[in-house]
């Protein structure tokens, strides 16, 4: 298995994993919600916690992406099922985060 083969097969999920990791860690460090919500959105109940929870969820999704990358080499169906599950979990959890700390 060459590096080129890995990039061809899983370059996009790997790139997304890197983006999610950087973005998630950034949110956990700066703890500012405008990084995810945009600049002209309304106030939040608890911006710091919202940003931290959001950062955590993005990290969770990033790890899900990495798992998908590995699964792509084993079974594509399992990889798709895994990323769909991760997206659904993230969506539901994000709704809860929004209800708790959001506008």
């Amino acid at each position: 298995m060459t590096w080129e083969y890995i990039l061809n097969q899983a370059g996009i999920p790997l790139l997304l994993f890197a983006i999610c990791m950087v973005y998630g860690i950034y949110l956990l460090i700066v703890q500012r919600a405008d990084g995810i919500r945009g600049k002209n959105k309304g106030p939040l109940k608890d911006e710091k916690r919202y940003a931290m929870a959001g950062g955590g969820l993005i990290l969770f999704f990033g790890i899900g992406t990495l798992v998908m990358t590995i699964l792509l080499f084993v079974n594509v169906y399992a990889a798709v099922a895994e990323i769909i599950s991760c997206t659904l979990i993230m969506g539901v959890l994000w709704k809860k985060v929004n209800e708790k700390y959001g506008a």
Binding site: I12, L72, V80, I83
Partner: protein
């Protein structure tokens, strides 16, 4: 505070700096190259612009509502692959569905748009009802679509299309290529939606201030879903157009197009902070981008250096847009 003419000129130069520099570059390329300003080259540029304009118009809608759509590139690839599998010749040795007769080209375009718009509706649902930021939900959809496309095509490159399909890119009406006509029709429809419909007005209201729009009675959630559905249908159509133009596609078709489209919208004047943008903005942005690429090729700039130049343009354009937003505040 009243601005002096000098200040107005300075603002104009800064706000339109990218377009002015591109214009100068195009003029320079035209003067120094023999066949840059020819009808053939112009038609070629317009043909290359056509699918990109359709993508940019889809993304413009999302950006106007204060969102973005990173799933566009994968959606284009998916659309192109669906169209490819349904429009292969019967005698093609690598036919994906060996026993299936090729379908009607228009029907396939419609099927592609419908399937993509269904995925767009899911993205919109995540954004509107689950409050997942557009950046994250479209990123997730990008991966899901990529995986589904891998399963659907088994990562096999597709080709051997029926003549009716390749004619979509090769055929002409009134001397103008069908692809250009399709892009013009999509632009006209989008202009009508943006300017003449209630949904269009709501889009700007949501982008300006979603909370205020909701208080004012705008059905924000429904309109957001509609925006992402419409955009996804356009990506599907763009994929269909790209497939006809290239004569062969793979899961990698459309890779990176979303970034170019977002950048083109920003260069043209669609604000990344939402609430601002026109159909002409997307058109100008796509034209500037395409002219830049062609001009760099004519000037013999190395292919890798072209990526750097395009990256610099995107960076400058988005910085200037943020500057406008800060100045407005």
């Amino acid at each position: 505070m009243v601005k002096t003419n000098q200040q107005k000129m300075k603002d104009f130069l800064i706000n339109n700096g990218v377009i002015i520099v591109m214009f100068v570059l195009v003029i320079y390329t035209g003067i120094t190259s023999n066949n840059f300003f020819t009808t053939g080259n112009l038609m070629n540029i317009l043909m290359n612009m056509s699918p990109r304009l359709v993508i940019a118009l889809g993304i413009a809608g999302c950006v106007i509502t204060g969102g973005c759509d990173l799933s566009a590139g994968r959606m284009i690839g998916f659309g192109a692959c669906i169209a490819g599998t349904l429009l292969q010749r019967m005698d093609y040795s690598g036919k994906f569905f060996p026993d299936m007769e090729p379908m009607n080209v228009f029907l396939v375009a419609l099927i592609v748009m419908l399937i993509c718009s269904a995925f767009g509706a899911i993205t919109g649902f995540f954004i509107a009802y689950l409050s997942v930021p557009p950046f994250i939900s479209t990123l997730a959809m990008m991966e899901i679509i990529y995986g589904i496309n891998m399963i659907y095509t088994n990562a096999t490159p597709l080709g051997g299309y029926v003549k009716e399909y390749t004619n979509v890119a090769g055929g002409k009406f009134l001397g103008i290529n069908y692809l250009i006509w399709i892009a013009l029709i999509v632009a006209a429809i989008t202009w009508f939606i943006f300017n003449m419909t209630r949904h269009g007005k709501y889009m700007y209201a949501i982008g300006g201030n979603a909370q205020a729009a909701e208080v004012a009675g705008v059905p924000v959630k429904k309109n957001l879903i509609l925006v992402y559905m419409k955009a996804a249908a356009m990506y599907g159509l763009a994929g269909f157009m790209l497939g006809a133009k290239s004569g062969g596609v793979s899961v990698m078709t459309g890779y990176g197009y979303e970034m170019e489209a977002i950048a083109a919208c920003t260069i043209g004047g669609v604000s990344v902070t939402g609430g601002r943008g026109k159909v002409s903005s997307a058109f100008i942005g796509v034209a500037v981008f395409e002219l830049l690429k062609v001009a760099l090729q004519y000037l013999g700039v190395d292919a890798n250096a072209q990526f750097i130049a395009i990256g610099v343009v995107i960076y400058v354009a988005i910085s200037l847009d943020i500057r406008k937003y800060v100045a407005k505040k």
